[in-house]
Every structure is written in C-alpha cells, then in structure tokens.
Amino acid sequence: MKELLKIEHARKVYQSRFKGVQVEALKDIQLEVNEGEYTAIMGESGSGKSTLLNMIATLDKPTSGKLYLNGDDLTQIKEKAAAAFRREHLGFVFQDFNLLDTISVKDNILLPLVLSRKSIKAAKPKLQELAEKLEITALLEKYPYELSGGQKQRVAVARAIITDPALLLADEPTGALDSKTSDQLLDIFEQLNQNGQTILMVTHSSLAASRAKRVLFIKDGIVYHQLYRGELDSKDFLEKINMTMASLLPR
C-alpha cells in the first residue's frame, strides 16, 4: 500500500499571550496513514487532537518536525498554495457542519469546485451521482437552515468528496448528531472507505472510532497507543477500545 500521510516528530508549542508561558499542544507525533485506510484518532479534549488535525489540514504549522502528504512537504507550503492544496487534496467534514446558510444545498456542494475554477457542466453529473448515493437529491434546492443535523452532515460529506480528495478529514463528525443519524453517517463513511476513500477521523466517541480500521490514542501530545481492527467486527472492536481507554484512565 502506498503511504499517503506521514508525520515525523511533529511538535507544536503555543506561546501564550503573557510572555514566558508556553503550552505544548503536541510533543512528538509520529504517524503514517496509508492509502485506503480508515483511521480514527481518539483523545480527550485538550489532548492535542484538534491541533494535529489543523496541521494536517494545513491550517496550522508545527513548531518543529515534518508533515508529508503524497510526498509533498506540508510545512514548506505558503498560505496561498496551502489554500489551493486544501481544495485539491483534502476534504473536510466538521462537527458543526460549516455549511453556508446563504446558499442552497446544491451550491454548498459545488462550492469547492467553483473555488477551484472547475467547469460547472462537468460537475453536474457528479453532483447528481453523489446526491443519489447520499440520499440528498430531494434536498438540493433547499437551504441548510431547513435541514436536520443528519441531513446537513450528509451534505457536508458530499461537499467534502466532490473534489475526489486524497484524504477525507473528519473532525468529530458525529459530535452534533443523535445516535441514529450518527450510525447513518458512519455507514456512509464505511461505504466510502470500501470504495477506496482514505479517511482520517478525529473523535472522542468510542462508538464512532469502533467503525474505523485503526484507532490511535493520543494524550498529552503524543500517540501512546494504537489498535488495529483486523478481522474483528465493530462490536468487539468497540469493547477493545473501551477497555484500552479504561486501562489508560488516570489512576
């Protein structure tokens, strides 16, 4: 399998506003993601997982260490190129959906293509296909504020993958959903992964993580444990995850 994402000794230090006080969000992160993998990163709030995701998303840069995506060094990328890079290679699904209320569902999904200056004619069949797959065809002409949380998140997924990104980044995608719609979303992720989509998901829900193929545990700025699902079904995998978490609880 080809290596898609590689993180070497990433460290991130935030300088607090008062001089001298430094907060180390990431200590030393070592991580590889292969093409076609479905990886979940788990950790409590404050563990540094959001910082990690922001760095992969090129929204932030490490203080030291290297990040490679598809062999490109993300730490060397300029802001303008980073935006283009995000558009071309990454897809995002956020906890709070981040849909624009001012444009229709259809336009929300087409937004990344418009930003990449892609022709609208070529995008239309793709939009139809995705909408059918995600069961949002009937919603295309509606506006985000008219949708339920689950529907919104499916629209966000459509927006994330319409550009065929190398890596789909999901930041607590089930955080704002109830259990039923969470399940539906995770089914979609699983399906996407089966079709070859590489997914990196940050979550603190063990239920969501149990649907991934691999789970990384992150605490105090380092990856301190990882679990592979292997042949386990998601229920057993969930048990293992929960046990791991329990064993690592501060005593």
């Binding site: 981040n98 624009l100 336009d107 937004l111 990344p112 930003l115 200056r117 609208i120 506006y143």
Partner: protein, 662 residues
C-alpha cells in the same frame, strides 16, 4: 442604587453599542442648540427684512427638531437590537421585567445627563462659530452678536429630555412584549432567502422613471415647484422599491445564469449580496435618499448664494430705477441737479416709455390677453408677458436707428429660448416680424419673471394706445391703459458708505419735488443687501441641514458595517476552511465593500443629475439664469460630498475588517 451602578457598568461595557448612540444624541443636541439660538437671536429680528429670515430660520429649526426625533428613534431601535441578548441574559438570570424597566431607566438617565452636558457645551461652541459664518455669509454687522440665552438652553434641554422619554417608552415597550428565550436567541434565527418580488420591482422602476420624466419635462419654473414634490415622492418610492425588490430580482437573474454564477469571481459576491440586500436594502436606500438630500440642499442653496450677483444684475440692470405711470422728466432733472451738486456722475441713463407688462396666453404664434382674475397655476406653462413699445422710444432707448414702413410690421425681442415663427398674432391682429432684436436685453423693461417675456416694437404710440383701448375696454382692465415710464441710471461712486448716503439724499430730493405724482424708487444696493441676507441665510441653513443629513448617513453606514461584519465573519471562516485563500477572501471582502459603497452614491448622483434641470428652472424664479455657474457649484458640492462619504466609508470599513478578520 444597585441599578444605577449596574446601568453605569452596562454602558461602560457596551461601548461599541453606546458610543455611536451617545455621539449621535450629542450631535443632535448641539445641532438643536445652535439652530434654536440662531433662530431666536434678538439681533436677527432687528435686521432689515427680518421677517423672511426669522421665518426661514424658524422653519429650519422645526425641520431639525423633527429630524432629531426621527433619527433618535432610529438609533434607539438599533441599540435595542444590539442589546437584546444582554437583556435576555439578565432576564434568564432572574431579573423580572420590572427590574429591567428600572435598569434601562437608569441607563437612560445617565445617557441623558451625558448628552445634555456634552451636547449643550459643544452646541454653544459651535454656535459661536456659526455666528461668524452667518455674519460672513449674510454680510451683517455688529447688530448680530453672540449672546448666551439661558431660556433657549432650557428649551433645548427640555426637548432632549422629551426625546429621551420617548426613547424610554420604545425601550420599555420592547421589553414588555419580549420573552426571555426569544431575547437570548434573537440573532440565531435561520434566515429565509428573500423572494424575488417582480411586481414591486416593476412598480419601483416605473415610479423612478416617472419621477425622472417629470423632472426632465417640466416647462416653467412655477409648475416646477408644485411638480417638484411629486417628483421627489416618486423618486423616493422608486429608490426604496428598487433597492429592496429590484436588486433581488436582478441578483436572482444573475444567479440563474449558470455560466456567470458558478465562477469564483461572482459566486460569493452574488450569493452574499442577495442576503445583504435583504437585511440592508432599506439602510442603503436611506443612505441614497439622504445623500441626495445633502447634495440637493447644499447645491441649491450654494447656487443661490454664489448666483447672488446674477440675481441682483437681473433685477437691477442699473443702480437706481424709478418707475411711474406719469412722465418722469421732472425727476430726471432733479436727479441731474442733485448729482451735480454732490459732484457725482450719473451714467448709462435711460428714460423710456412702454406699456405695462401684459399677461397673455400663448399658443404657437397666437397671443391672447388673459384675465388675471381667472388665472390659475395650471395656465402657467402657456403664459407669457408682452410689453409694447413704440419705435421712436426704442430708438432713443437703445441708440439704434431702425425704421418700420408698415403698421403691420414689428420688431421683437424675447427671453424665450427661441421663437421660430415669422408672425405674431396679438388678440387677432396679425403682425409680420421684420427682425428679432437683441439690444433690449439690459434695459430694465423686463422684470424677472417666471414666464417668457416678449417686447414688441410698433411703428408709433397711437397704434399702441388704440390697441390697449380695444383690449381693455372694461373697468377692470383700466389700469392697463396707463403707460409705464422708467428712469434708470448708474451712480459712479465706489465707496459703499458714500453710495448709501447719495442714494438716501437722492430719494429725499425726489420726495420733495414729486408733489402728488405716484412713483416707485428702487436702488440696487439695498436690494443686494436684502438678497444677500436671504441667500446667505438660506445657504447657512443648507449647510446645517446638509451636516445633519450627513451625520445620519454616517451613522447608518456605521451600523450597517457592524451588522454585516458580524454576519460575514462566520461565512469567511467557512470559506477559508473549504479552501479559499486569504488573498482571495480579502479581494471578495473588498469588492463587496466597494459595491455597497458605490451603489447608493452612484444612485444619489443619478438622482441629482435628473433633478438638475428642475432645480435650474426653480432658480430662475430667484433670478438665477446662469446655469453654468450652478452646474459648477453642483459638481463642486458633489465632489466634496463624495470625498466626505469616502472618508466616512473608509473609517467605518475598518470596523468591518476588524470584525471579519478577527
């Protein structure tokens, strides 16, 4: 005391909401102080021709008072909107409505005290400055002295307190009808996309075009005044509808065009503007109307003021003008002797006899003497003045040497733009126009008149007399039979005081010798003085109202930027996450700001351009026919306004950038 303390803290912590509110209230107080002080100045009442000026300033101060109430109400509603969350929070935390009434009451009292102290102080300071300006503009002397009138200050304070009471009522009503949950989540409601209102957009377009059409096609200045208000009303309605409904129709059409819409250059601006127009169309339309008002008020009054010399020259081709129904030979002699005694030269002397100006209705070449008794404004477009003068009088008056062979031949001069006909039919008598002559232009035979004038030169005086007898055979018309004698001359004196003394002496001499003869004596100098007072006062009022409207414009722009900045912040964060780079975000923000900046200004300029012919015609009523001068004044005012507008926009745009780019 707890509430007073809390209220004080609230104001301090909500600077962003309270500072603009307080600033505008202070400004309104200062403006009212200034206006009331000027309007009720004891020196003003002593001025020559004070009646018109006190009336003018009284009228101005009433407008400022009304404007203050309207504008204070606007700022209060904005303030209430901004503070809904905060009051909702207090409510949730256990403050009942009764306590909220108390709290906001103390807030209002603190605001009132601040407003009164700062407003009255700055008002008094500005008044001193205003007095200097008035003195300069109106050319008045020491009788117009700045004095602090405590009763005026009391009236201003009472008025401002009244306004605050009214604002408190609005505030209390808002609290009364609200419920806490709604207060807390006031700004989180999903916004519906506005519907395209084709019908309203069409109505807006029609009323705008109609208003423009009225402005362009007005013929006479008298009907200009009556039609002016209709045109203004139509344009205001048109502007509001086009900004609210028309803009959305156009944007939605743009959105339907996929090749245009799905382009990174248009996608964000068009979709953003649809929402922006829904929230801010009324604000933008108000900015446009207010800007137009500033431009029209200031350029009209400035046009009057700078056209002063024109106006005086039109009315007074000579320094002294005497008219009478009887020959003025005796007075002519008196003038000459008196001048010789005083060692002053009289020049450009004219002495003429003509008919009185006859009011006629005109249709192509057909002139009919009309009855003044049954005259109405609607006839004004067809009206004209006709003056008859004999050839010999004409030749002596203009030192020309023309001749007429037949009694059916005439010479003619007209103030109308053109008279293409070869003949003139006066109450059925047909005359051949031998030539149109131009030498009668500055002879004082014509009063400045809202309608076109025609001077007809006829072969001899008997012919004129018999015509007049034929036309005015009733008792009512008898007055027209009398001839109009005019004696006009210039005084070759430069020094103002000497001129004044000479004119006073001359009029006394005239009064001594005239016995029972009726005559009218007018001099250019006192006319200029009174006109300057009037025009200067008008210009001053224009500046004051212009400043008031400009303030309103500024504040609306400011509030608009703040509310838009808060809304757009979220949108741009999302766009950046989805892959829009910073430079592009900045470019989009900038282009949106520019669009919203230029749109109302461009519309206001368009309004002024169409209003120009109309105002030009109204100024003719005041004797200002030099429209090139008025054009220059208007362009200058427009330029200055654009610069001020740009500065205001730049300053407030910073607030927007700060909010968006945080």
């Amino acid at each position: 005391m707890f509430y007073a303390k809390l209220a004080f803290q609230n104001i301090r912590k909500n600077k962003q909401a309270f500072v603009p509110f307080l600033l505008s209230m202070i400004f309104l107080t200062a403006l009212n102080t200034l206006m009331l002080m000027v309007a009720n100045d004891p020196g003003l009442a002593k001025l020559q021709g004070a009646g018109a000026i006190t009336q003018l300033f009284g009228f101005g101060s009433v407008i400022v008072l009304i404007f203050s109430v309207v504008f204070a109400t606007y700022t209060e509603t904005i303030l209430n909107k901004q503070r809904k969350n905060e009051l909702g929070l207090y409510n949730v935390l256990g403050m009942g409505k009764r306590e909220l009434y108390k709290l906001t009451f103390f807030e209002k009292v603190i605001n009132l005290v601040t407003t009164v102290v700062l407003g009255i102080t700055s008002g008094v300071i500005f008044s001193r400055l205003a007095y200097l300006i008035i003195k300069k503009l109106m050319g008045v002397g020491g009788e117009f002295k700045f004095t602090l009138n405590p009763s005026i200050l009391m009236i201003t304070i009472l008025f401002i307190a009244g306004v605050y009471a009214w604002l408190y009522l609005i505030n209390a009503f808002n609290i009364f009808k609200s419920d806490p949950i709604e207060l807390l989540h006031a700004d989180q409601k999903g916004e519906k996309e506005p519907k395209a209102k084709w019908f309203l957009a069409l109505v807006g377009l029609v009323s705008l075009v109609w208003g423009y059409w009225i402005a362009l096609t007005i013929k006479s200045p008298v009907s200009a005044i009556t039609n002016f208000f209709i045109a203004v009303l139509l344009v205001i309605i048109g502007t509001y509808l086009i900004f609210t409904a028309g803009s959305i129709v156009v944007l939605k059409l743009l959105r339907k065009n996929e090749n245009y819409y799905y382009n990174v250059k248009h996608f964000i601006p068009v979709s953003g503007m649809i929402y922006r127009m829904k929230q801010n169309a009324v604000g933008l339309a108000s900015i446009c109307i207010l800007s137009t008002m500033v431009l029209v008020t200031v350029s009209t009054t400035a046009g009057l003021f700078f056209g002063l010399n024109d106006q005086v020259q039109q009315m007074f081709p000579r320094d002294v003008m005497v008219t009478s129904a009887e020959p003025l030979t005796k007075l002519k002699q008196v003038a000459k002797t008196y001048a010789a005694e005083e060692d002053v030269k009289l020049s450009d002397m004219q002495y003429s006899r003509a008919s009185q100006p006859l009011l006629v209705t005109k249709d192509a070449n057909n002139f009919k003497v009309s009855d003044r008794m049954y005259y109405s404004v609607s006839d004004v477009d067809k009206s004209a003045n006709v003056v008859l003068i004999s050839l010999s009088e004409y030749n002596t008056l203009t030192k020309d040497n023309l001749s007429l062979n037949k009694t059916d031949d005439i010479f003619m001069y007209t103030t109308a733009r053109s008279y293409p006909e070869k003949t003139m039919v006066l109450n059925g008598h047909k005359y051949q126009i031998k030539q149109q002559v131009n030498k009668l232009k500055d002879t004082g035979l014509l009063n400045v008149s809202p309608v076109d004038s025609y001077i007809v030169v006829m072969k001899d005086q008997q012919q004129i007399d018999s015509l007049l007898k034929e036309w005015f055979d009733t008792k009512k018309g008898e007055a027209y039979l009398a001839p109009a004698y005019a004696l006009n001359f210039n005084i070759d004196l430069k020094d103002q005081a000497k001129r004044k003394a000479f004119i006073r002496g001359l009029s006394k001499e005239f009064a001594k010798t005239s016995d029972k003869q009726w005559y009218s004596f007018q001099d250019k100098d006192s006319y200029r003085e009174s006109v300057k007072r009037f025009d200067g006062g008008f210009f001053f009022l224009g500046i004051i109202l212009g400043t008031a409207f400009l303030l309103a414009t500024t504040l609306i722009i400011y509030y608009k930027q703040v509310s838009e900045g808060m809304d757009d912040r979220e949108r741009f964060v999302i766009l950046q996450k989805v892959g829009m780079d910073e430079a592009e975000v900045k470019r989009v923000i900038h282009s949106q700001i520019m669009m919203v900046f230029i749109f109302p200004l461009a519309f206001a300029m368009l309004h002024v351009a169409f209003a120009f012919p109309l105002i030009k015609k109204m100024l003719v009523l005041f004797g200002i026919t030099n429209w090139q001068l008025f054009l220059v004044v208007t362009l200058a005012v427009a330029l200055i306004f654009s610069i001020l507008y740009y500065i205001v926009y730049q300053l407030t745009a910073r607030v927007y950038y700060r909010l968006v780019e945080r």
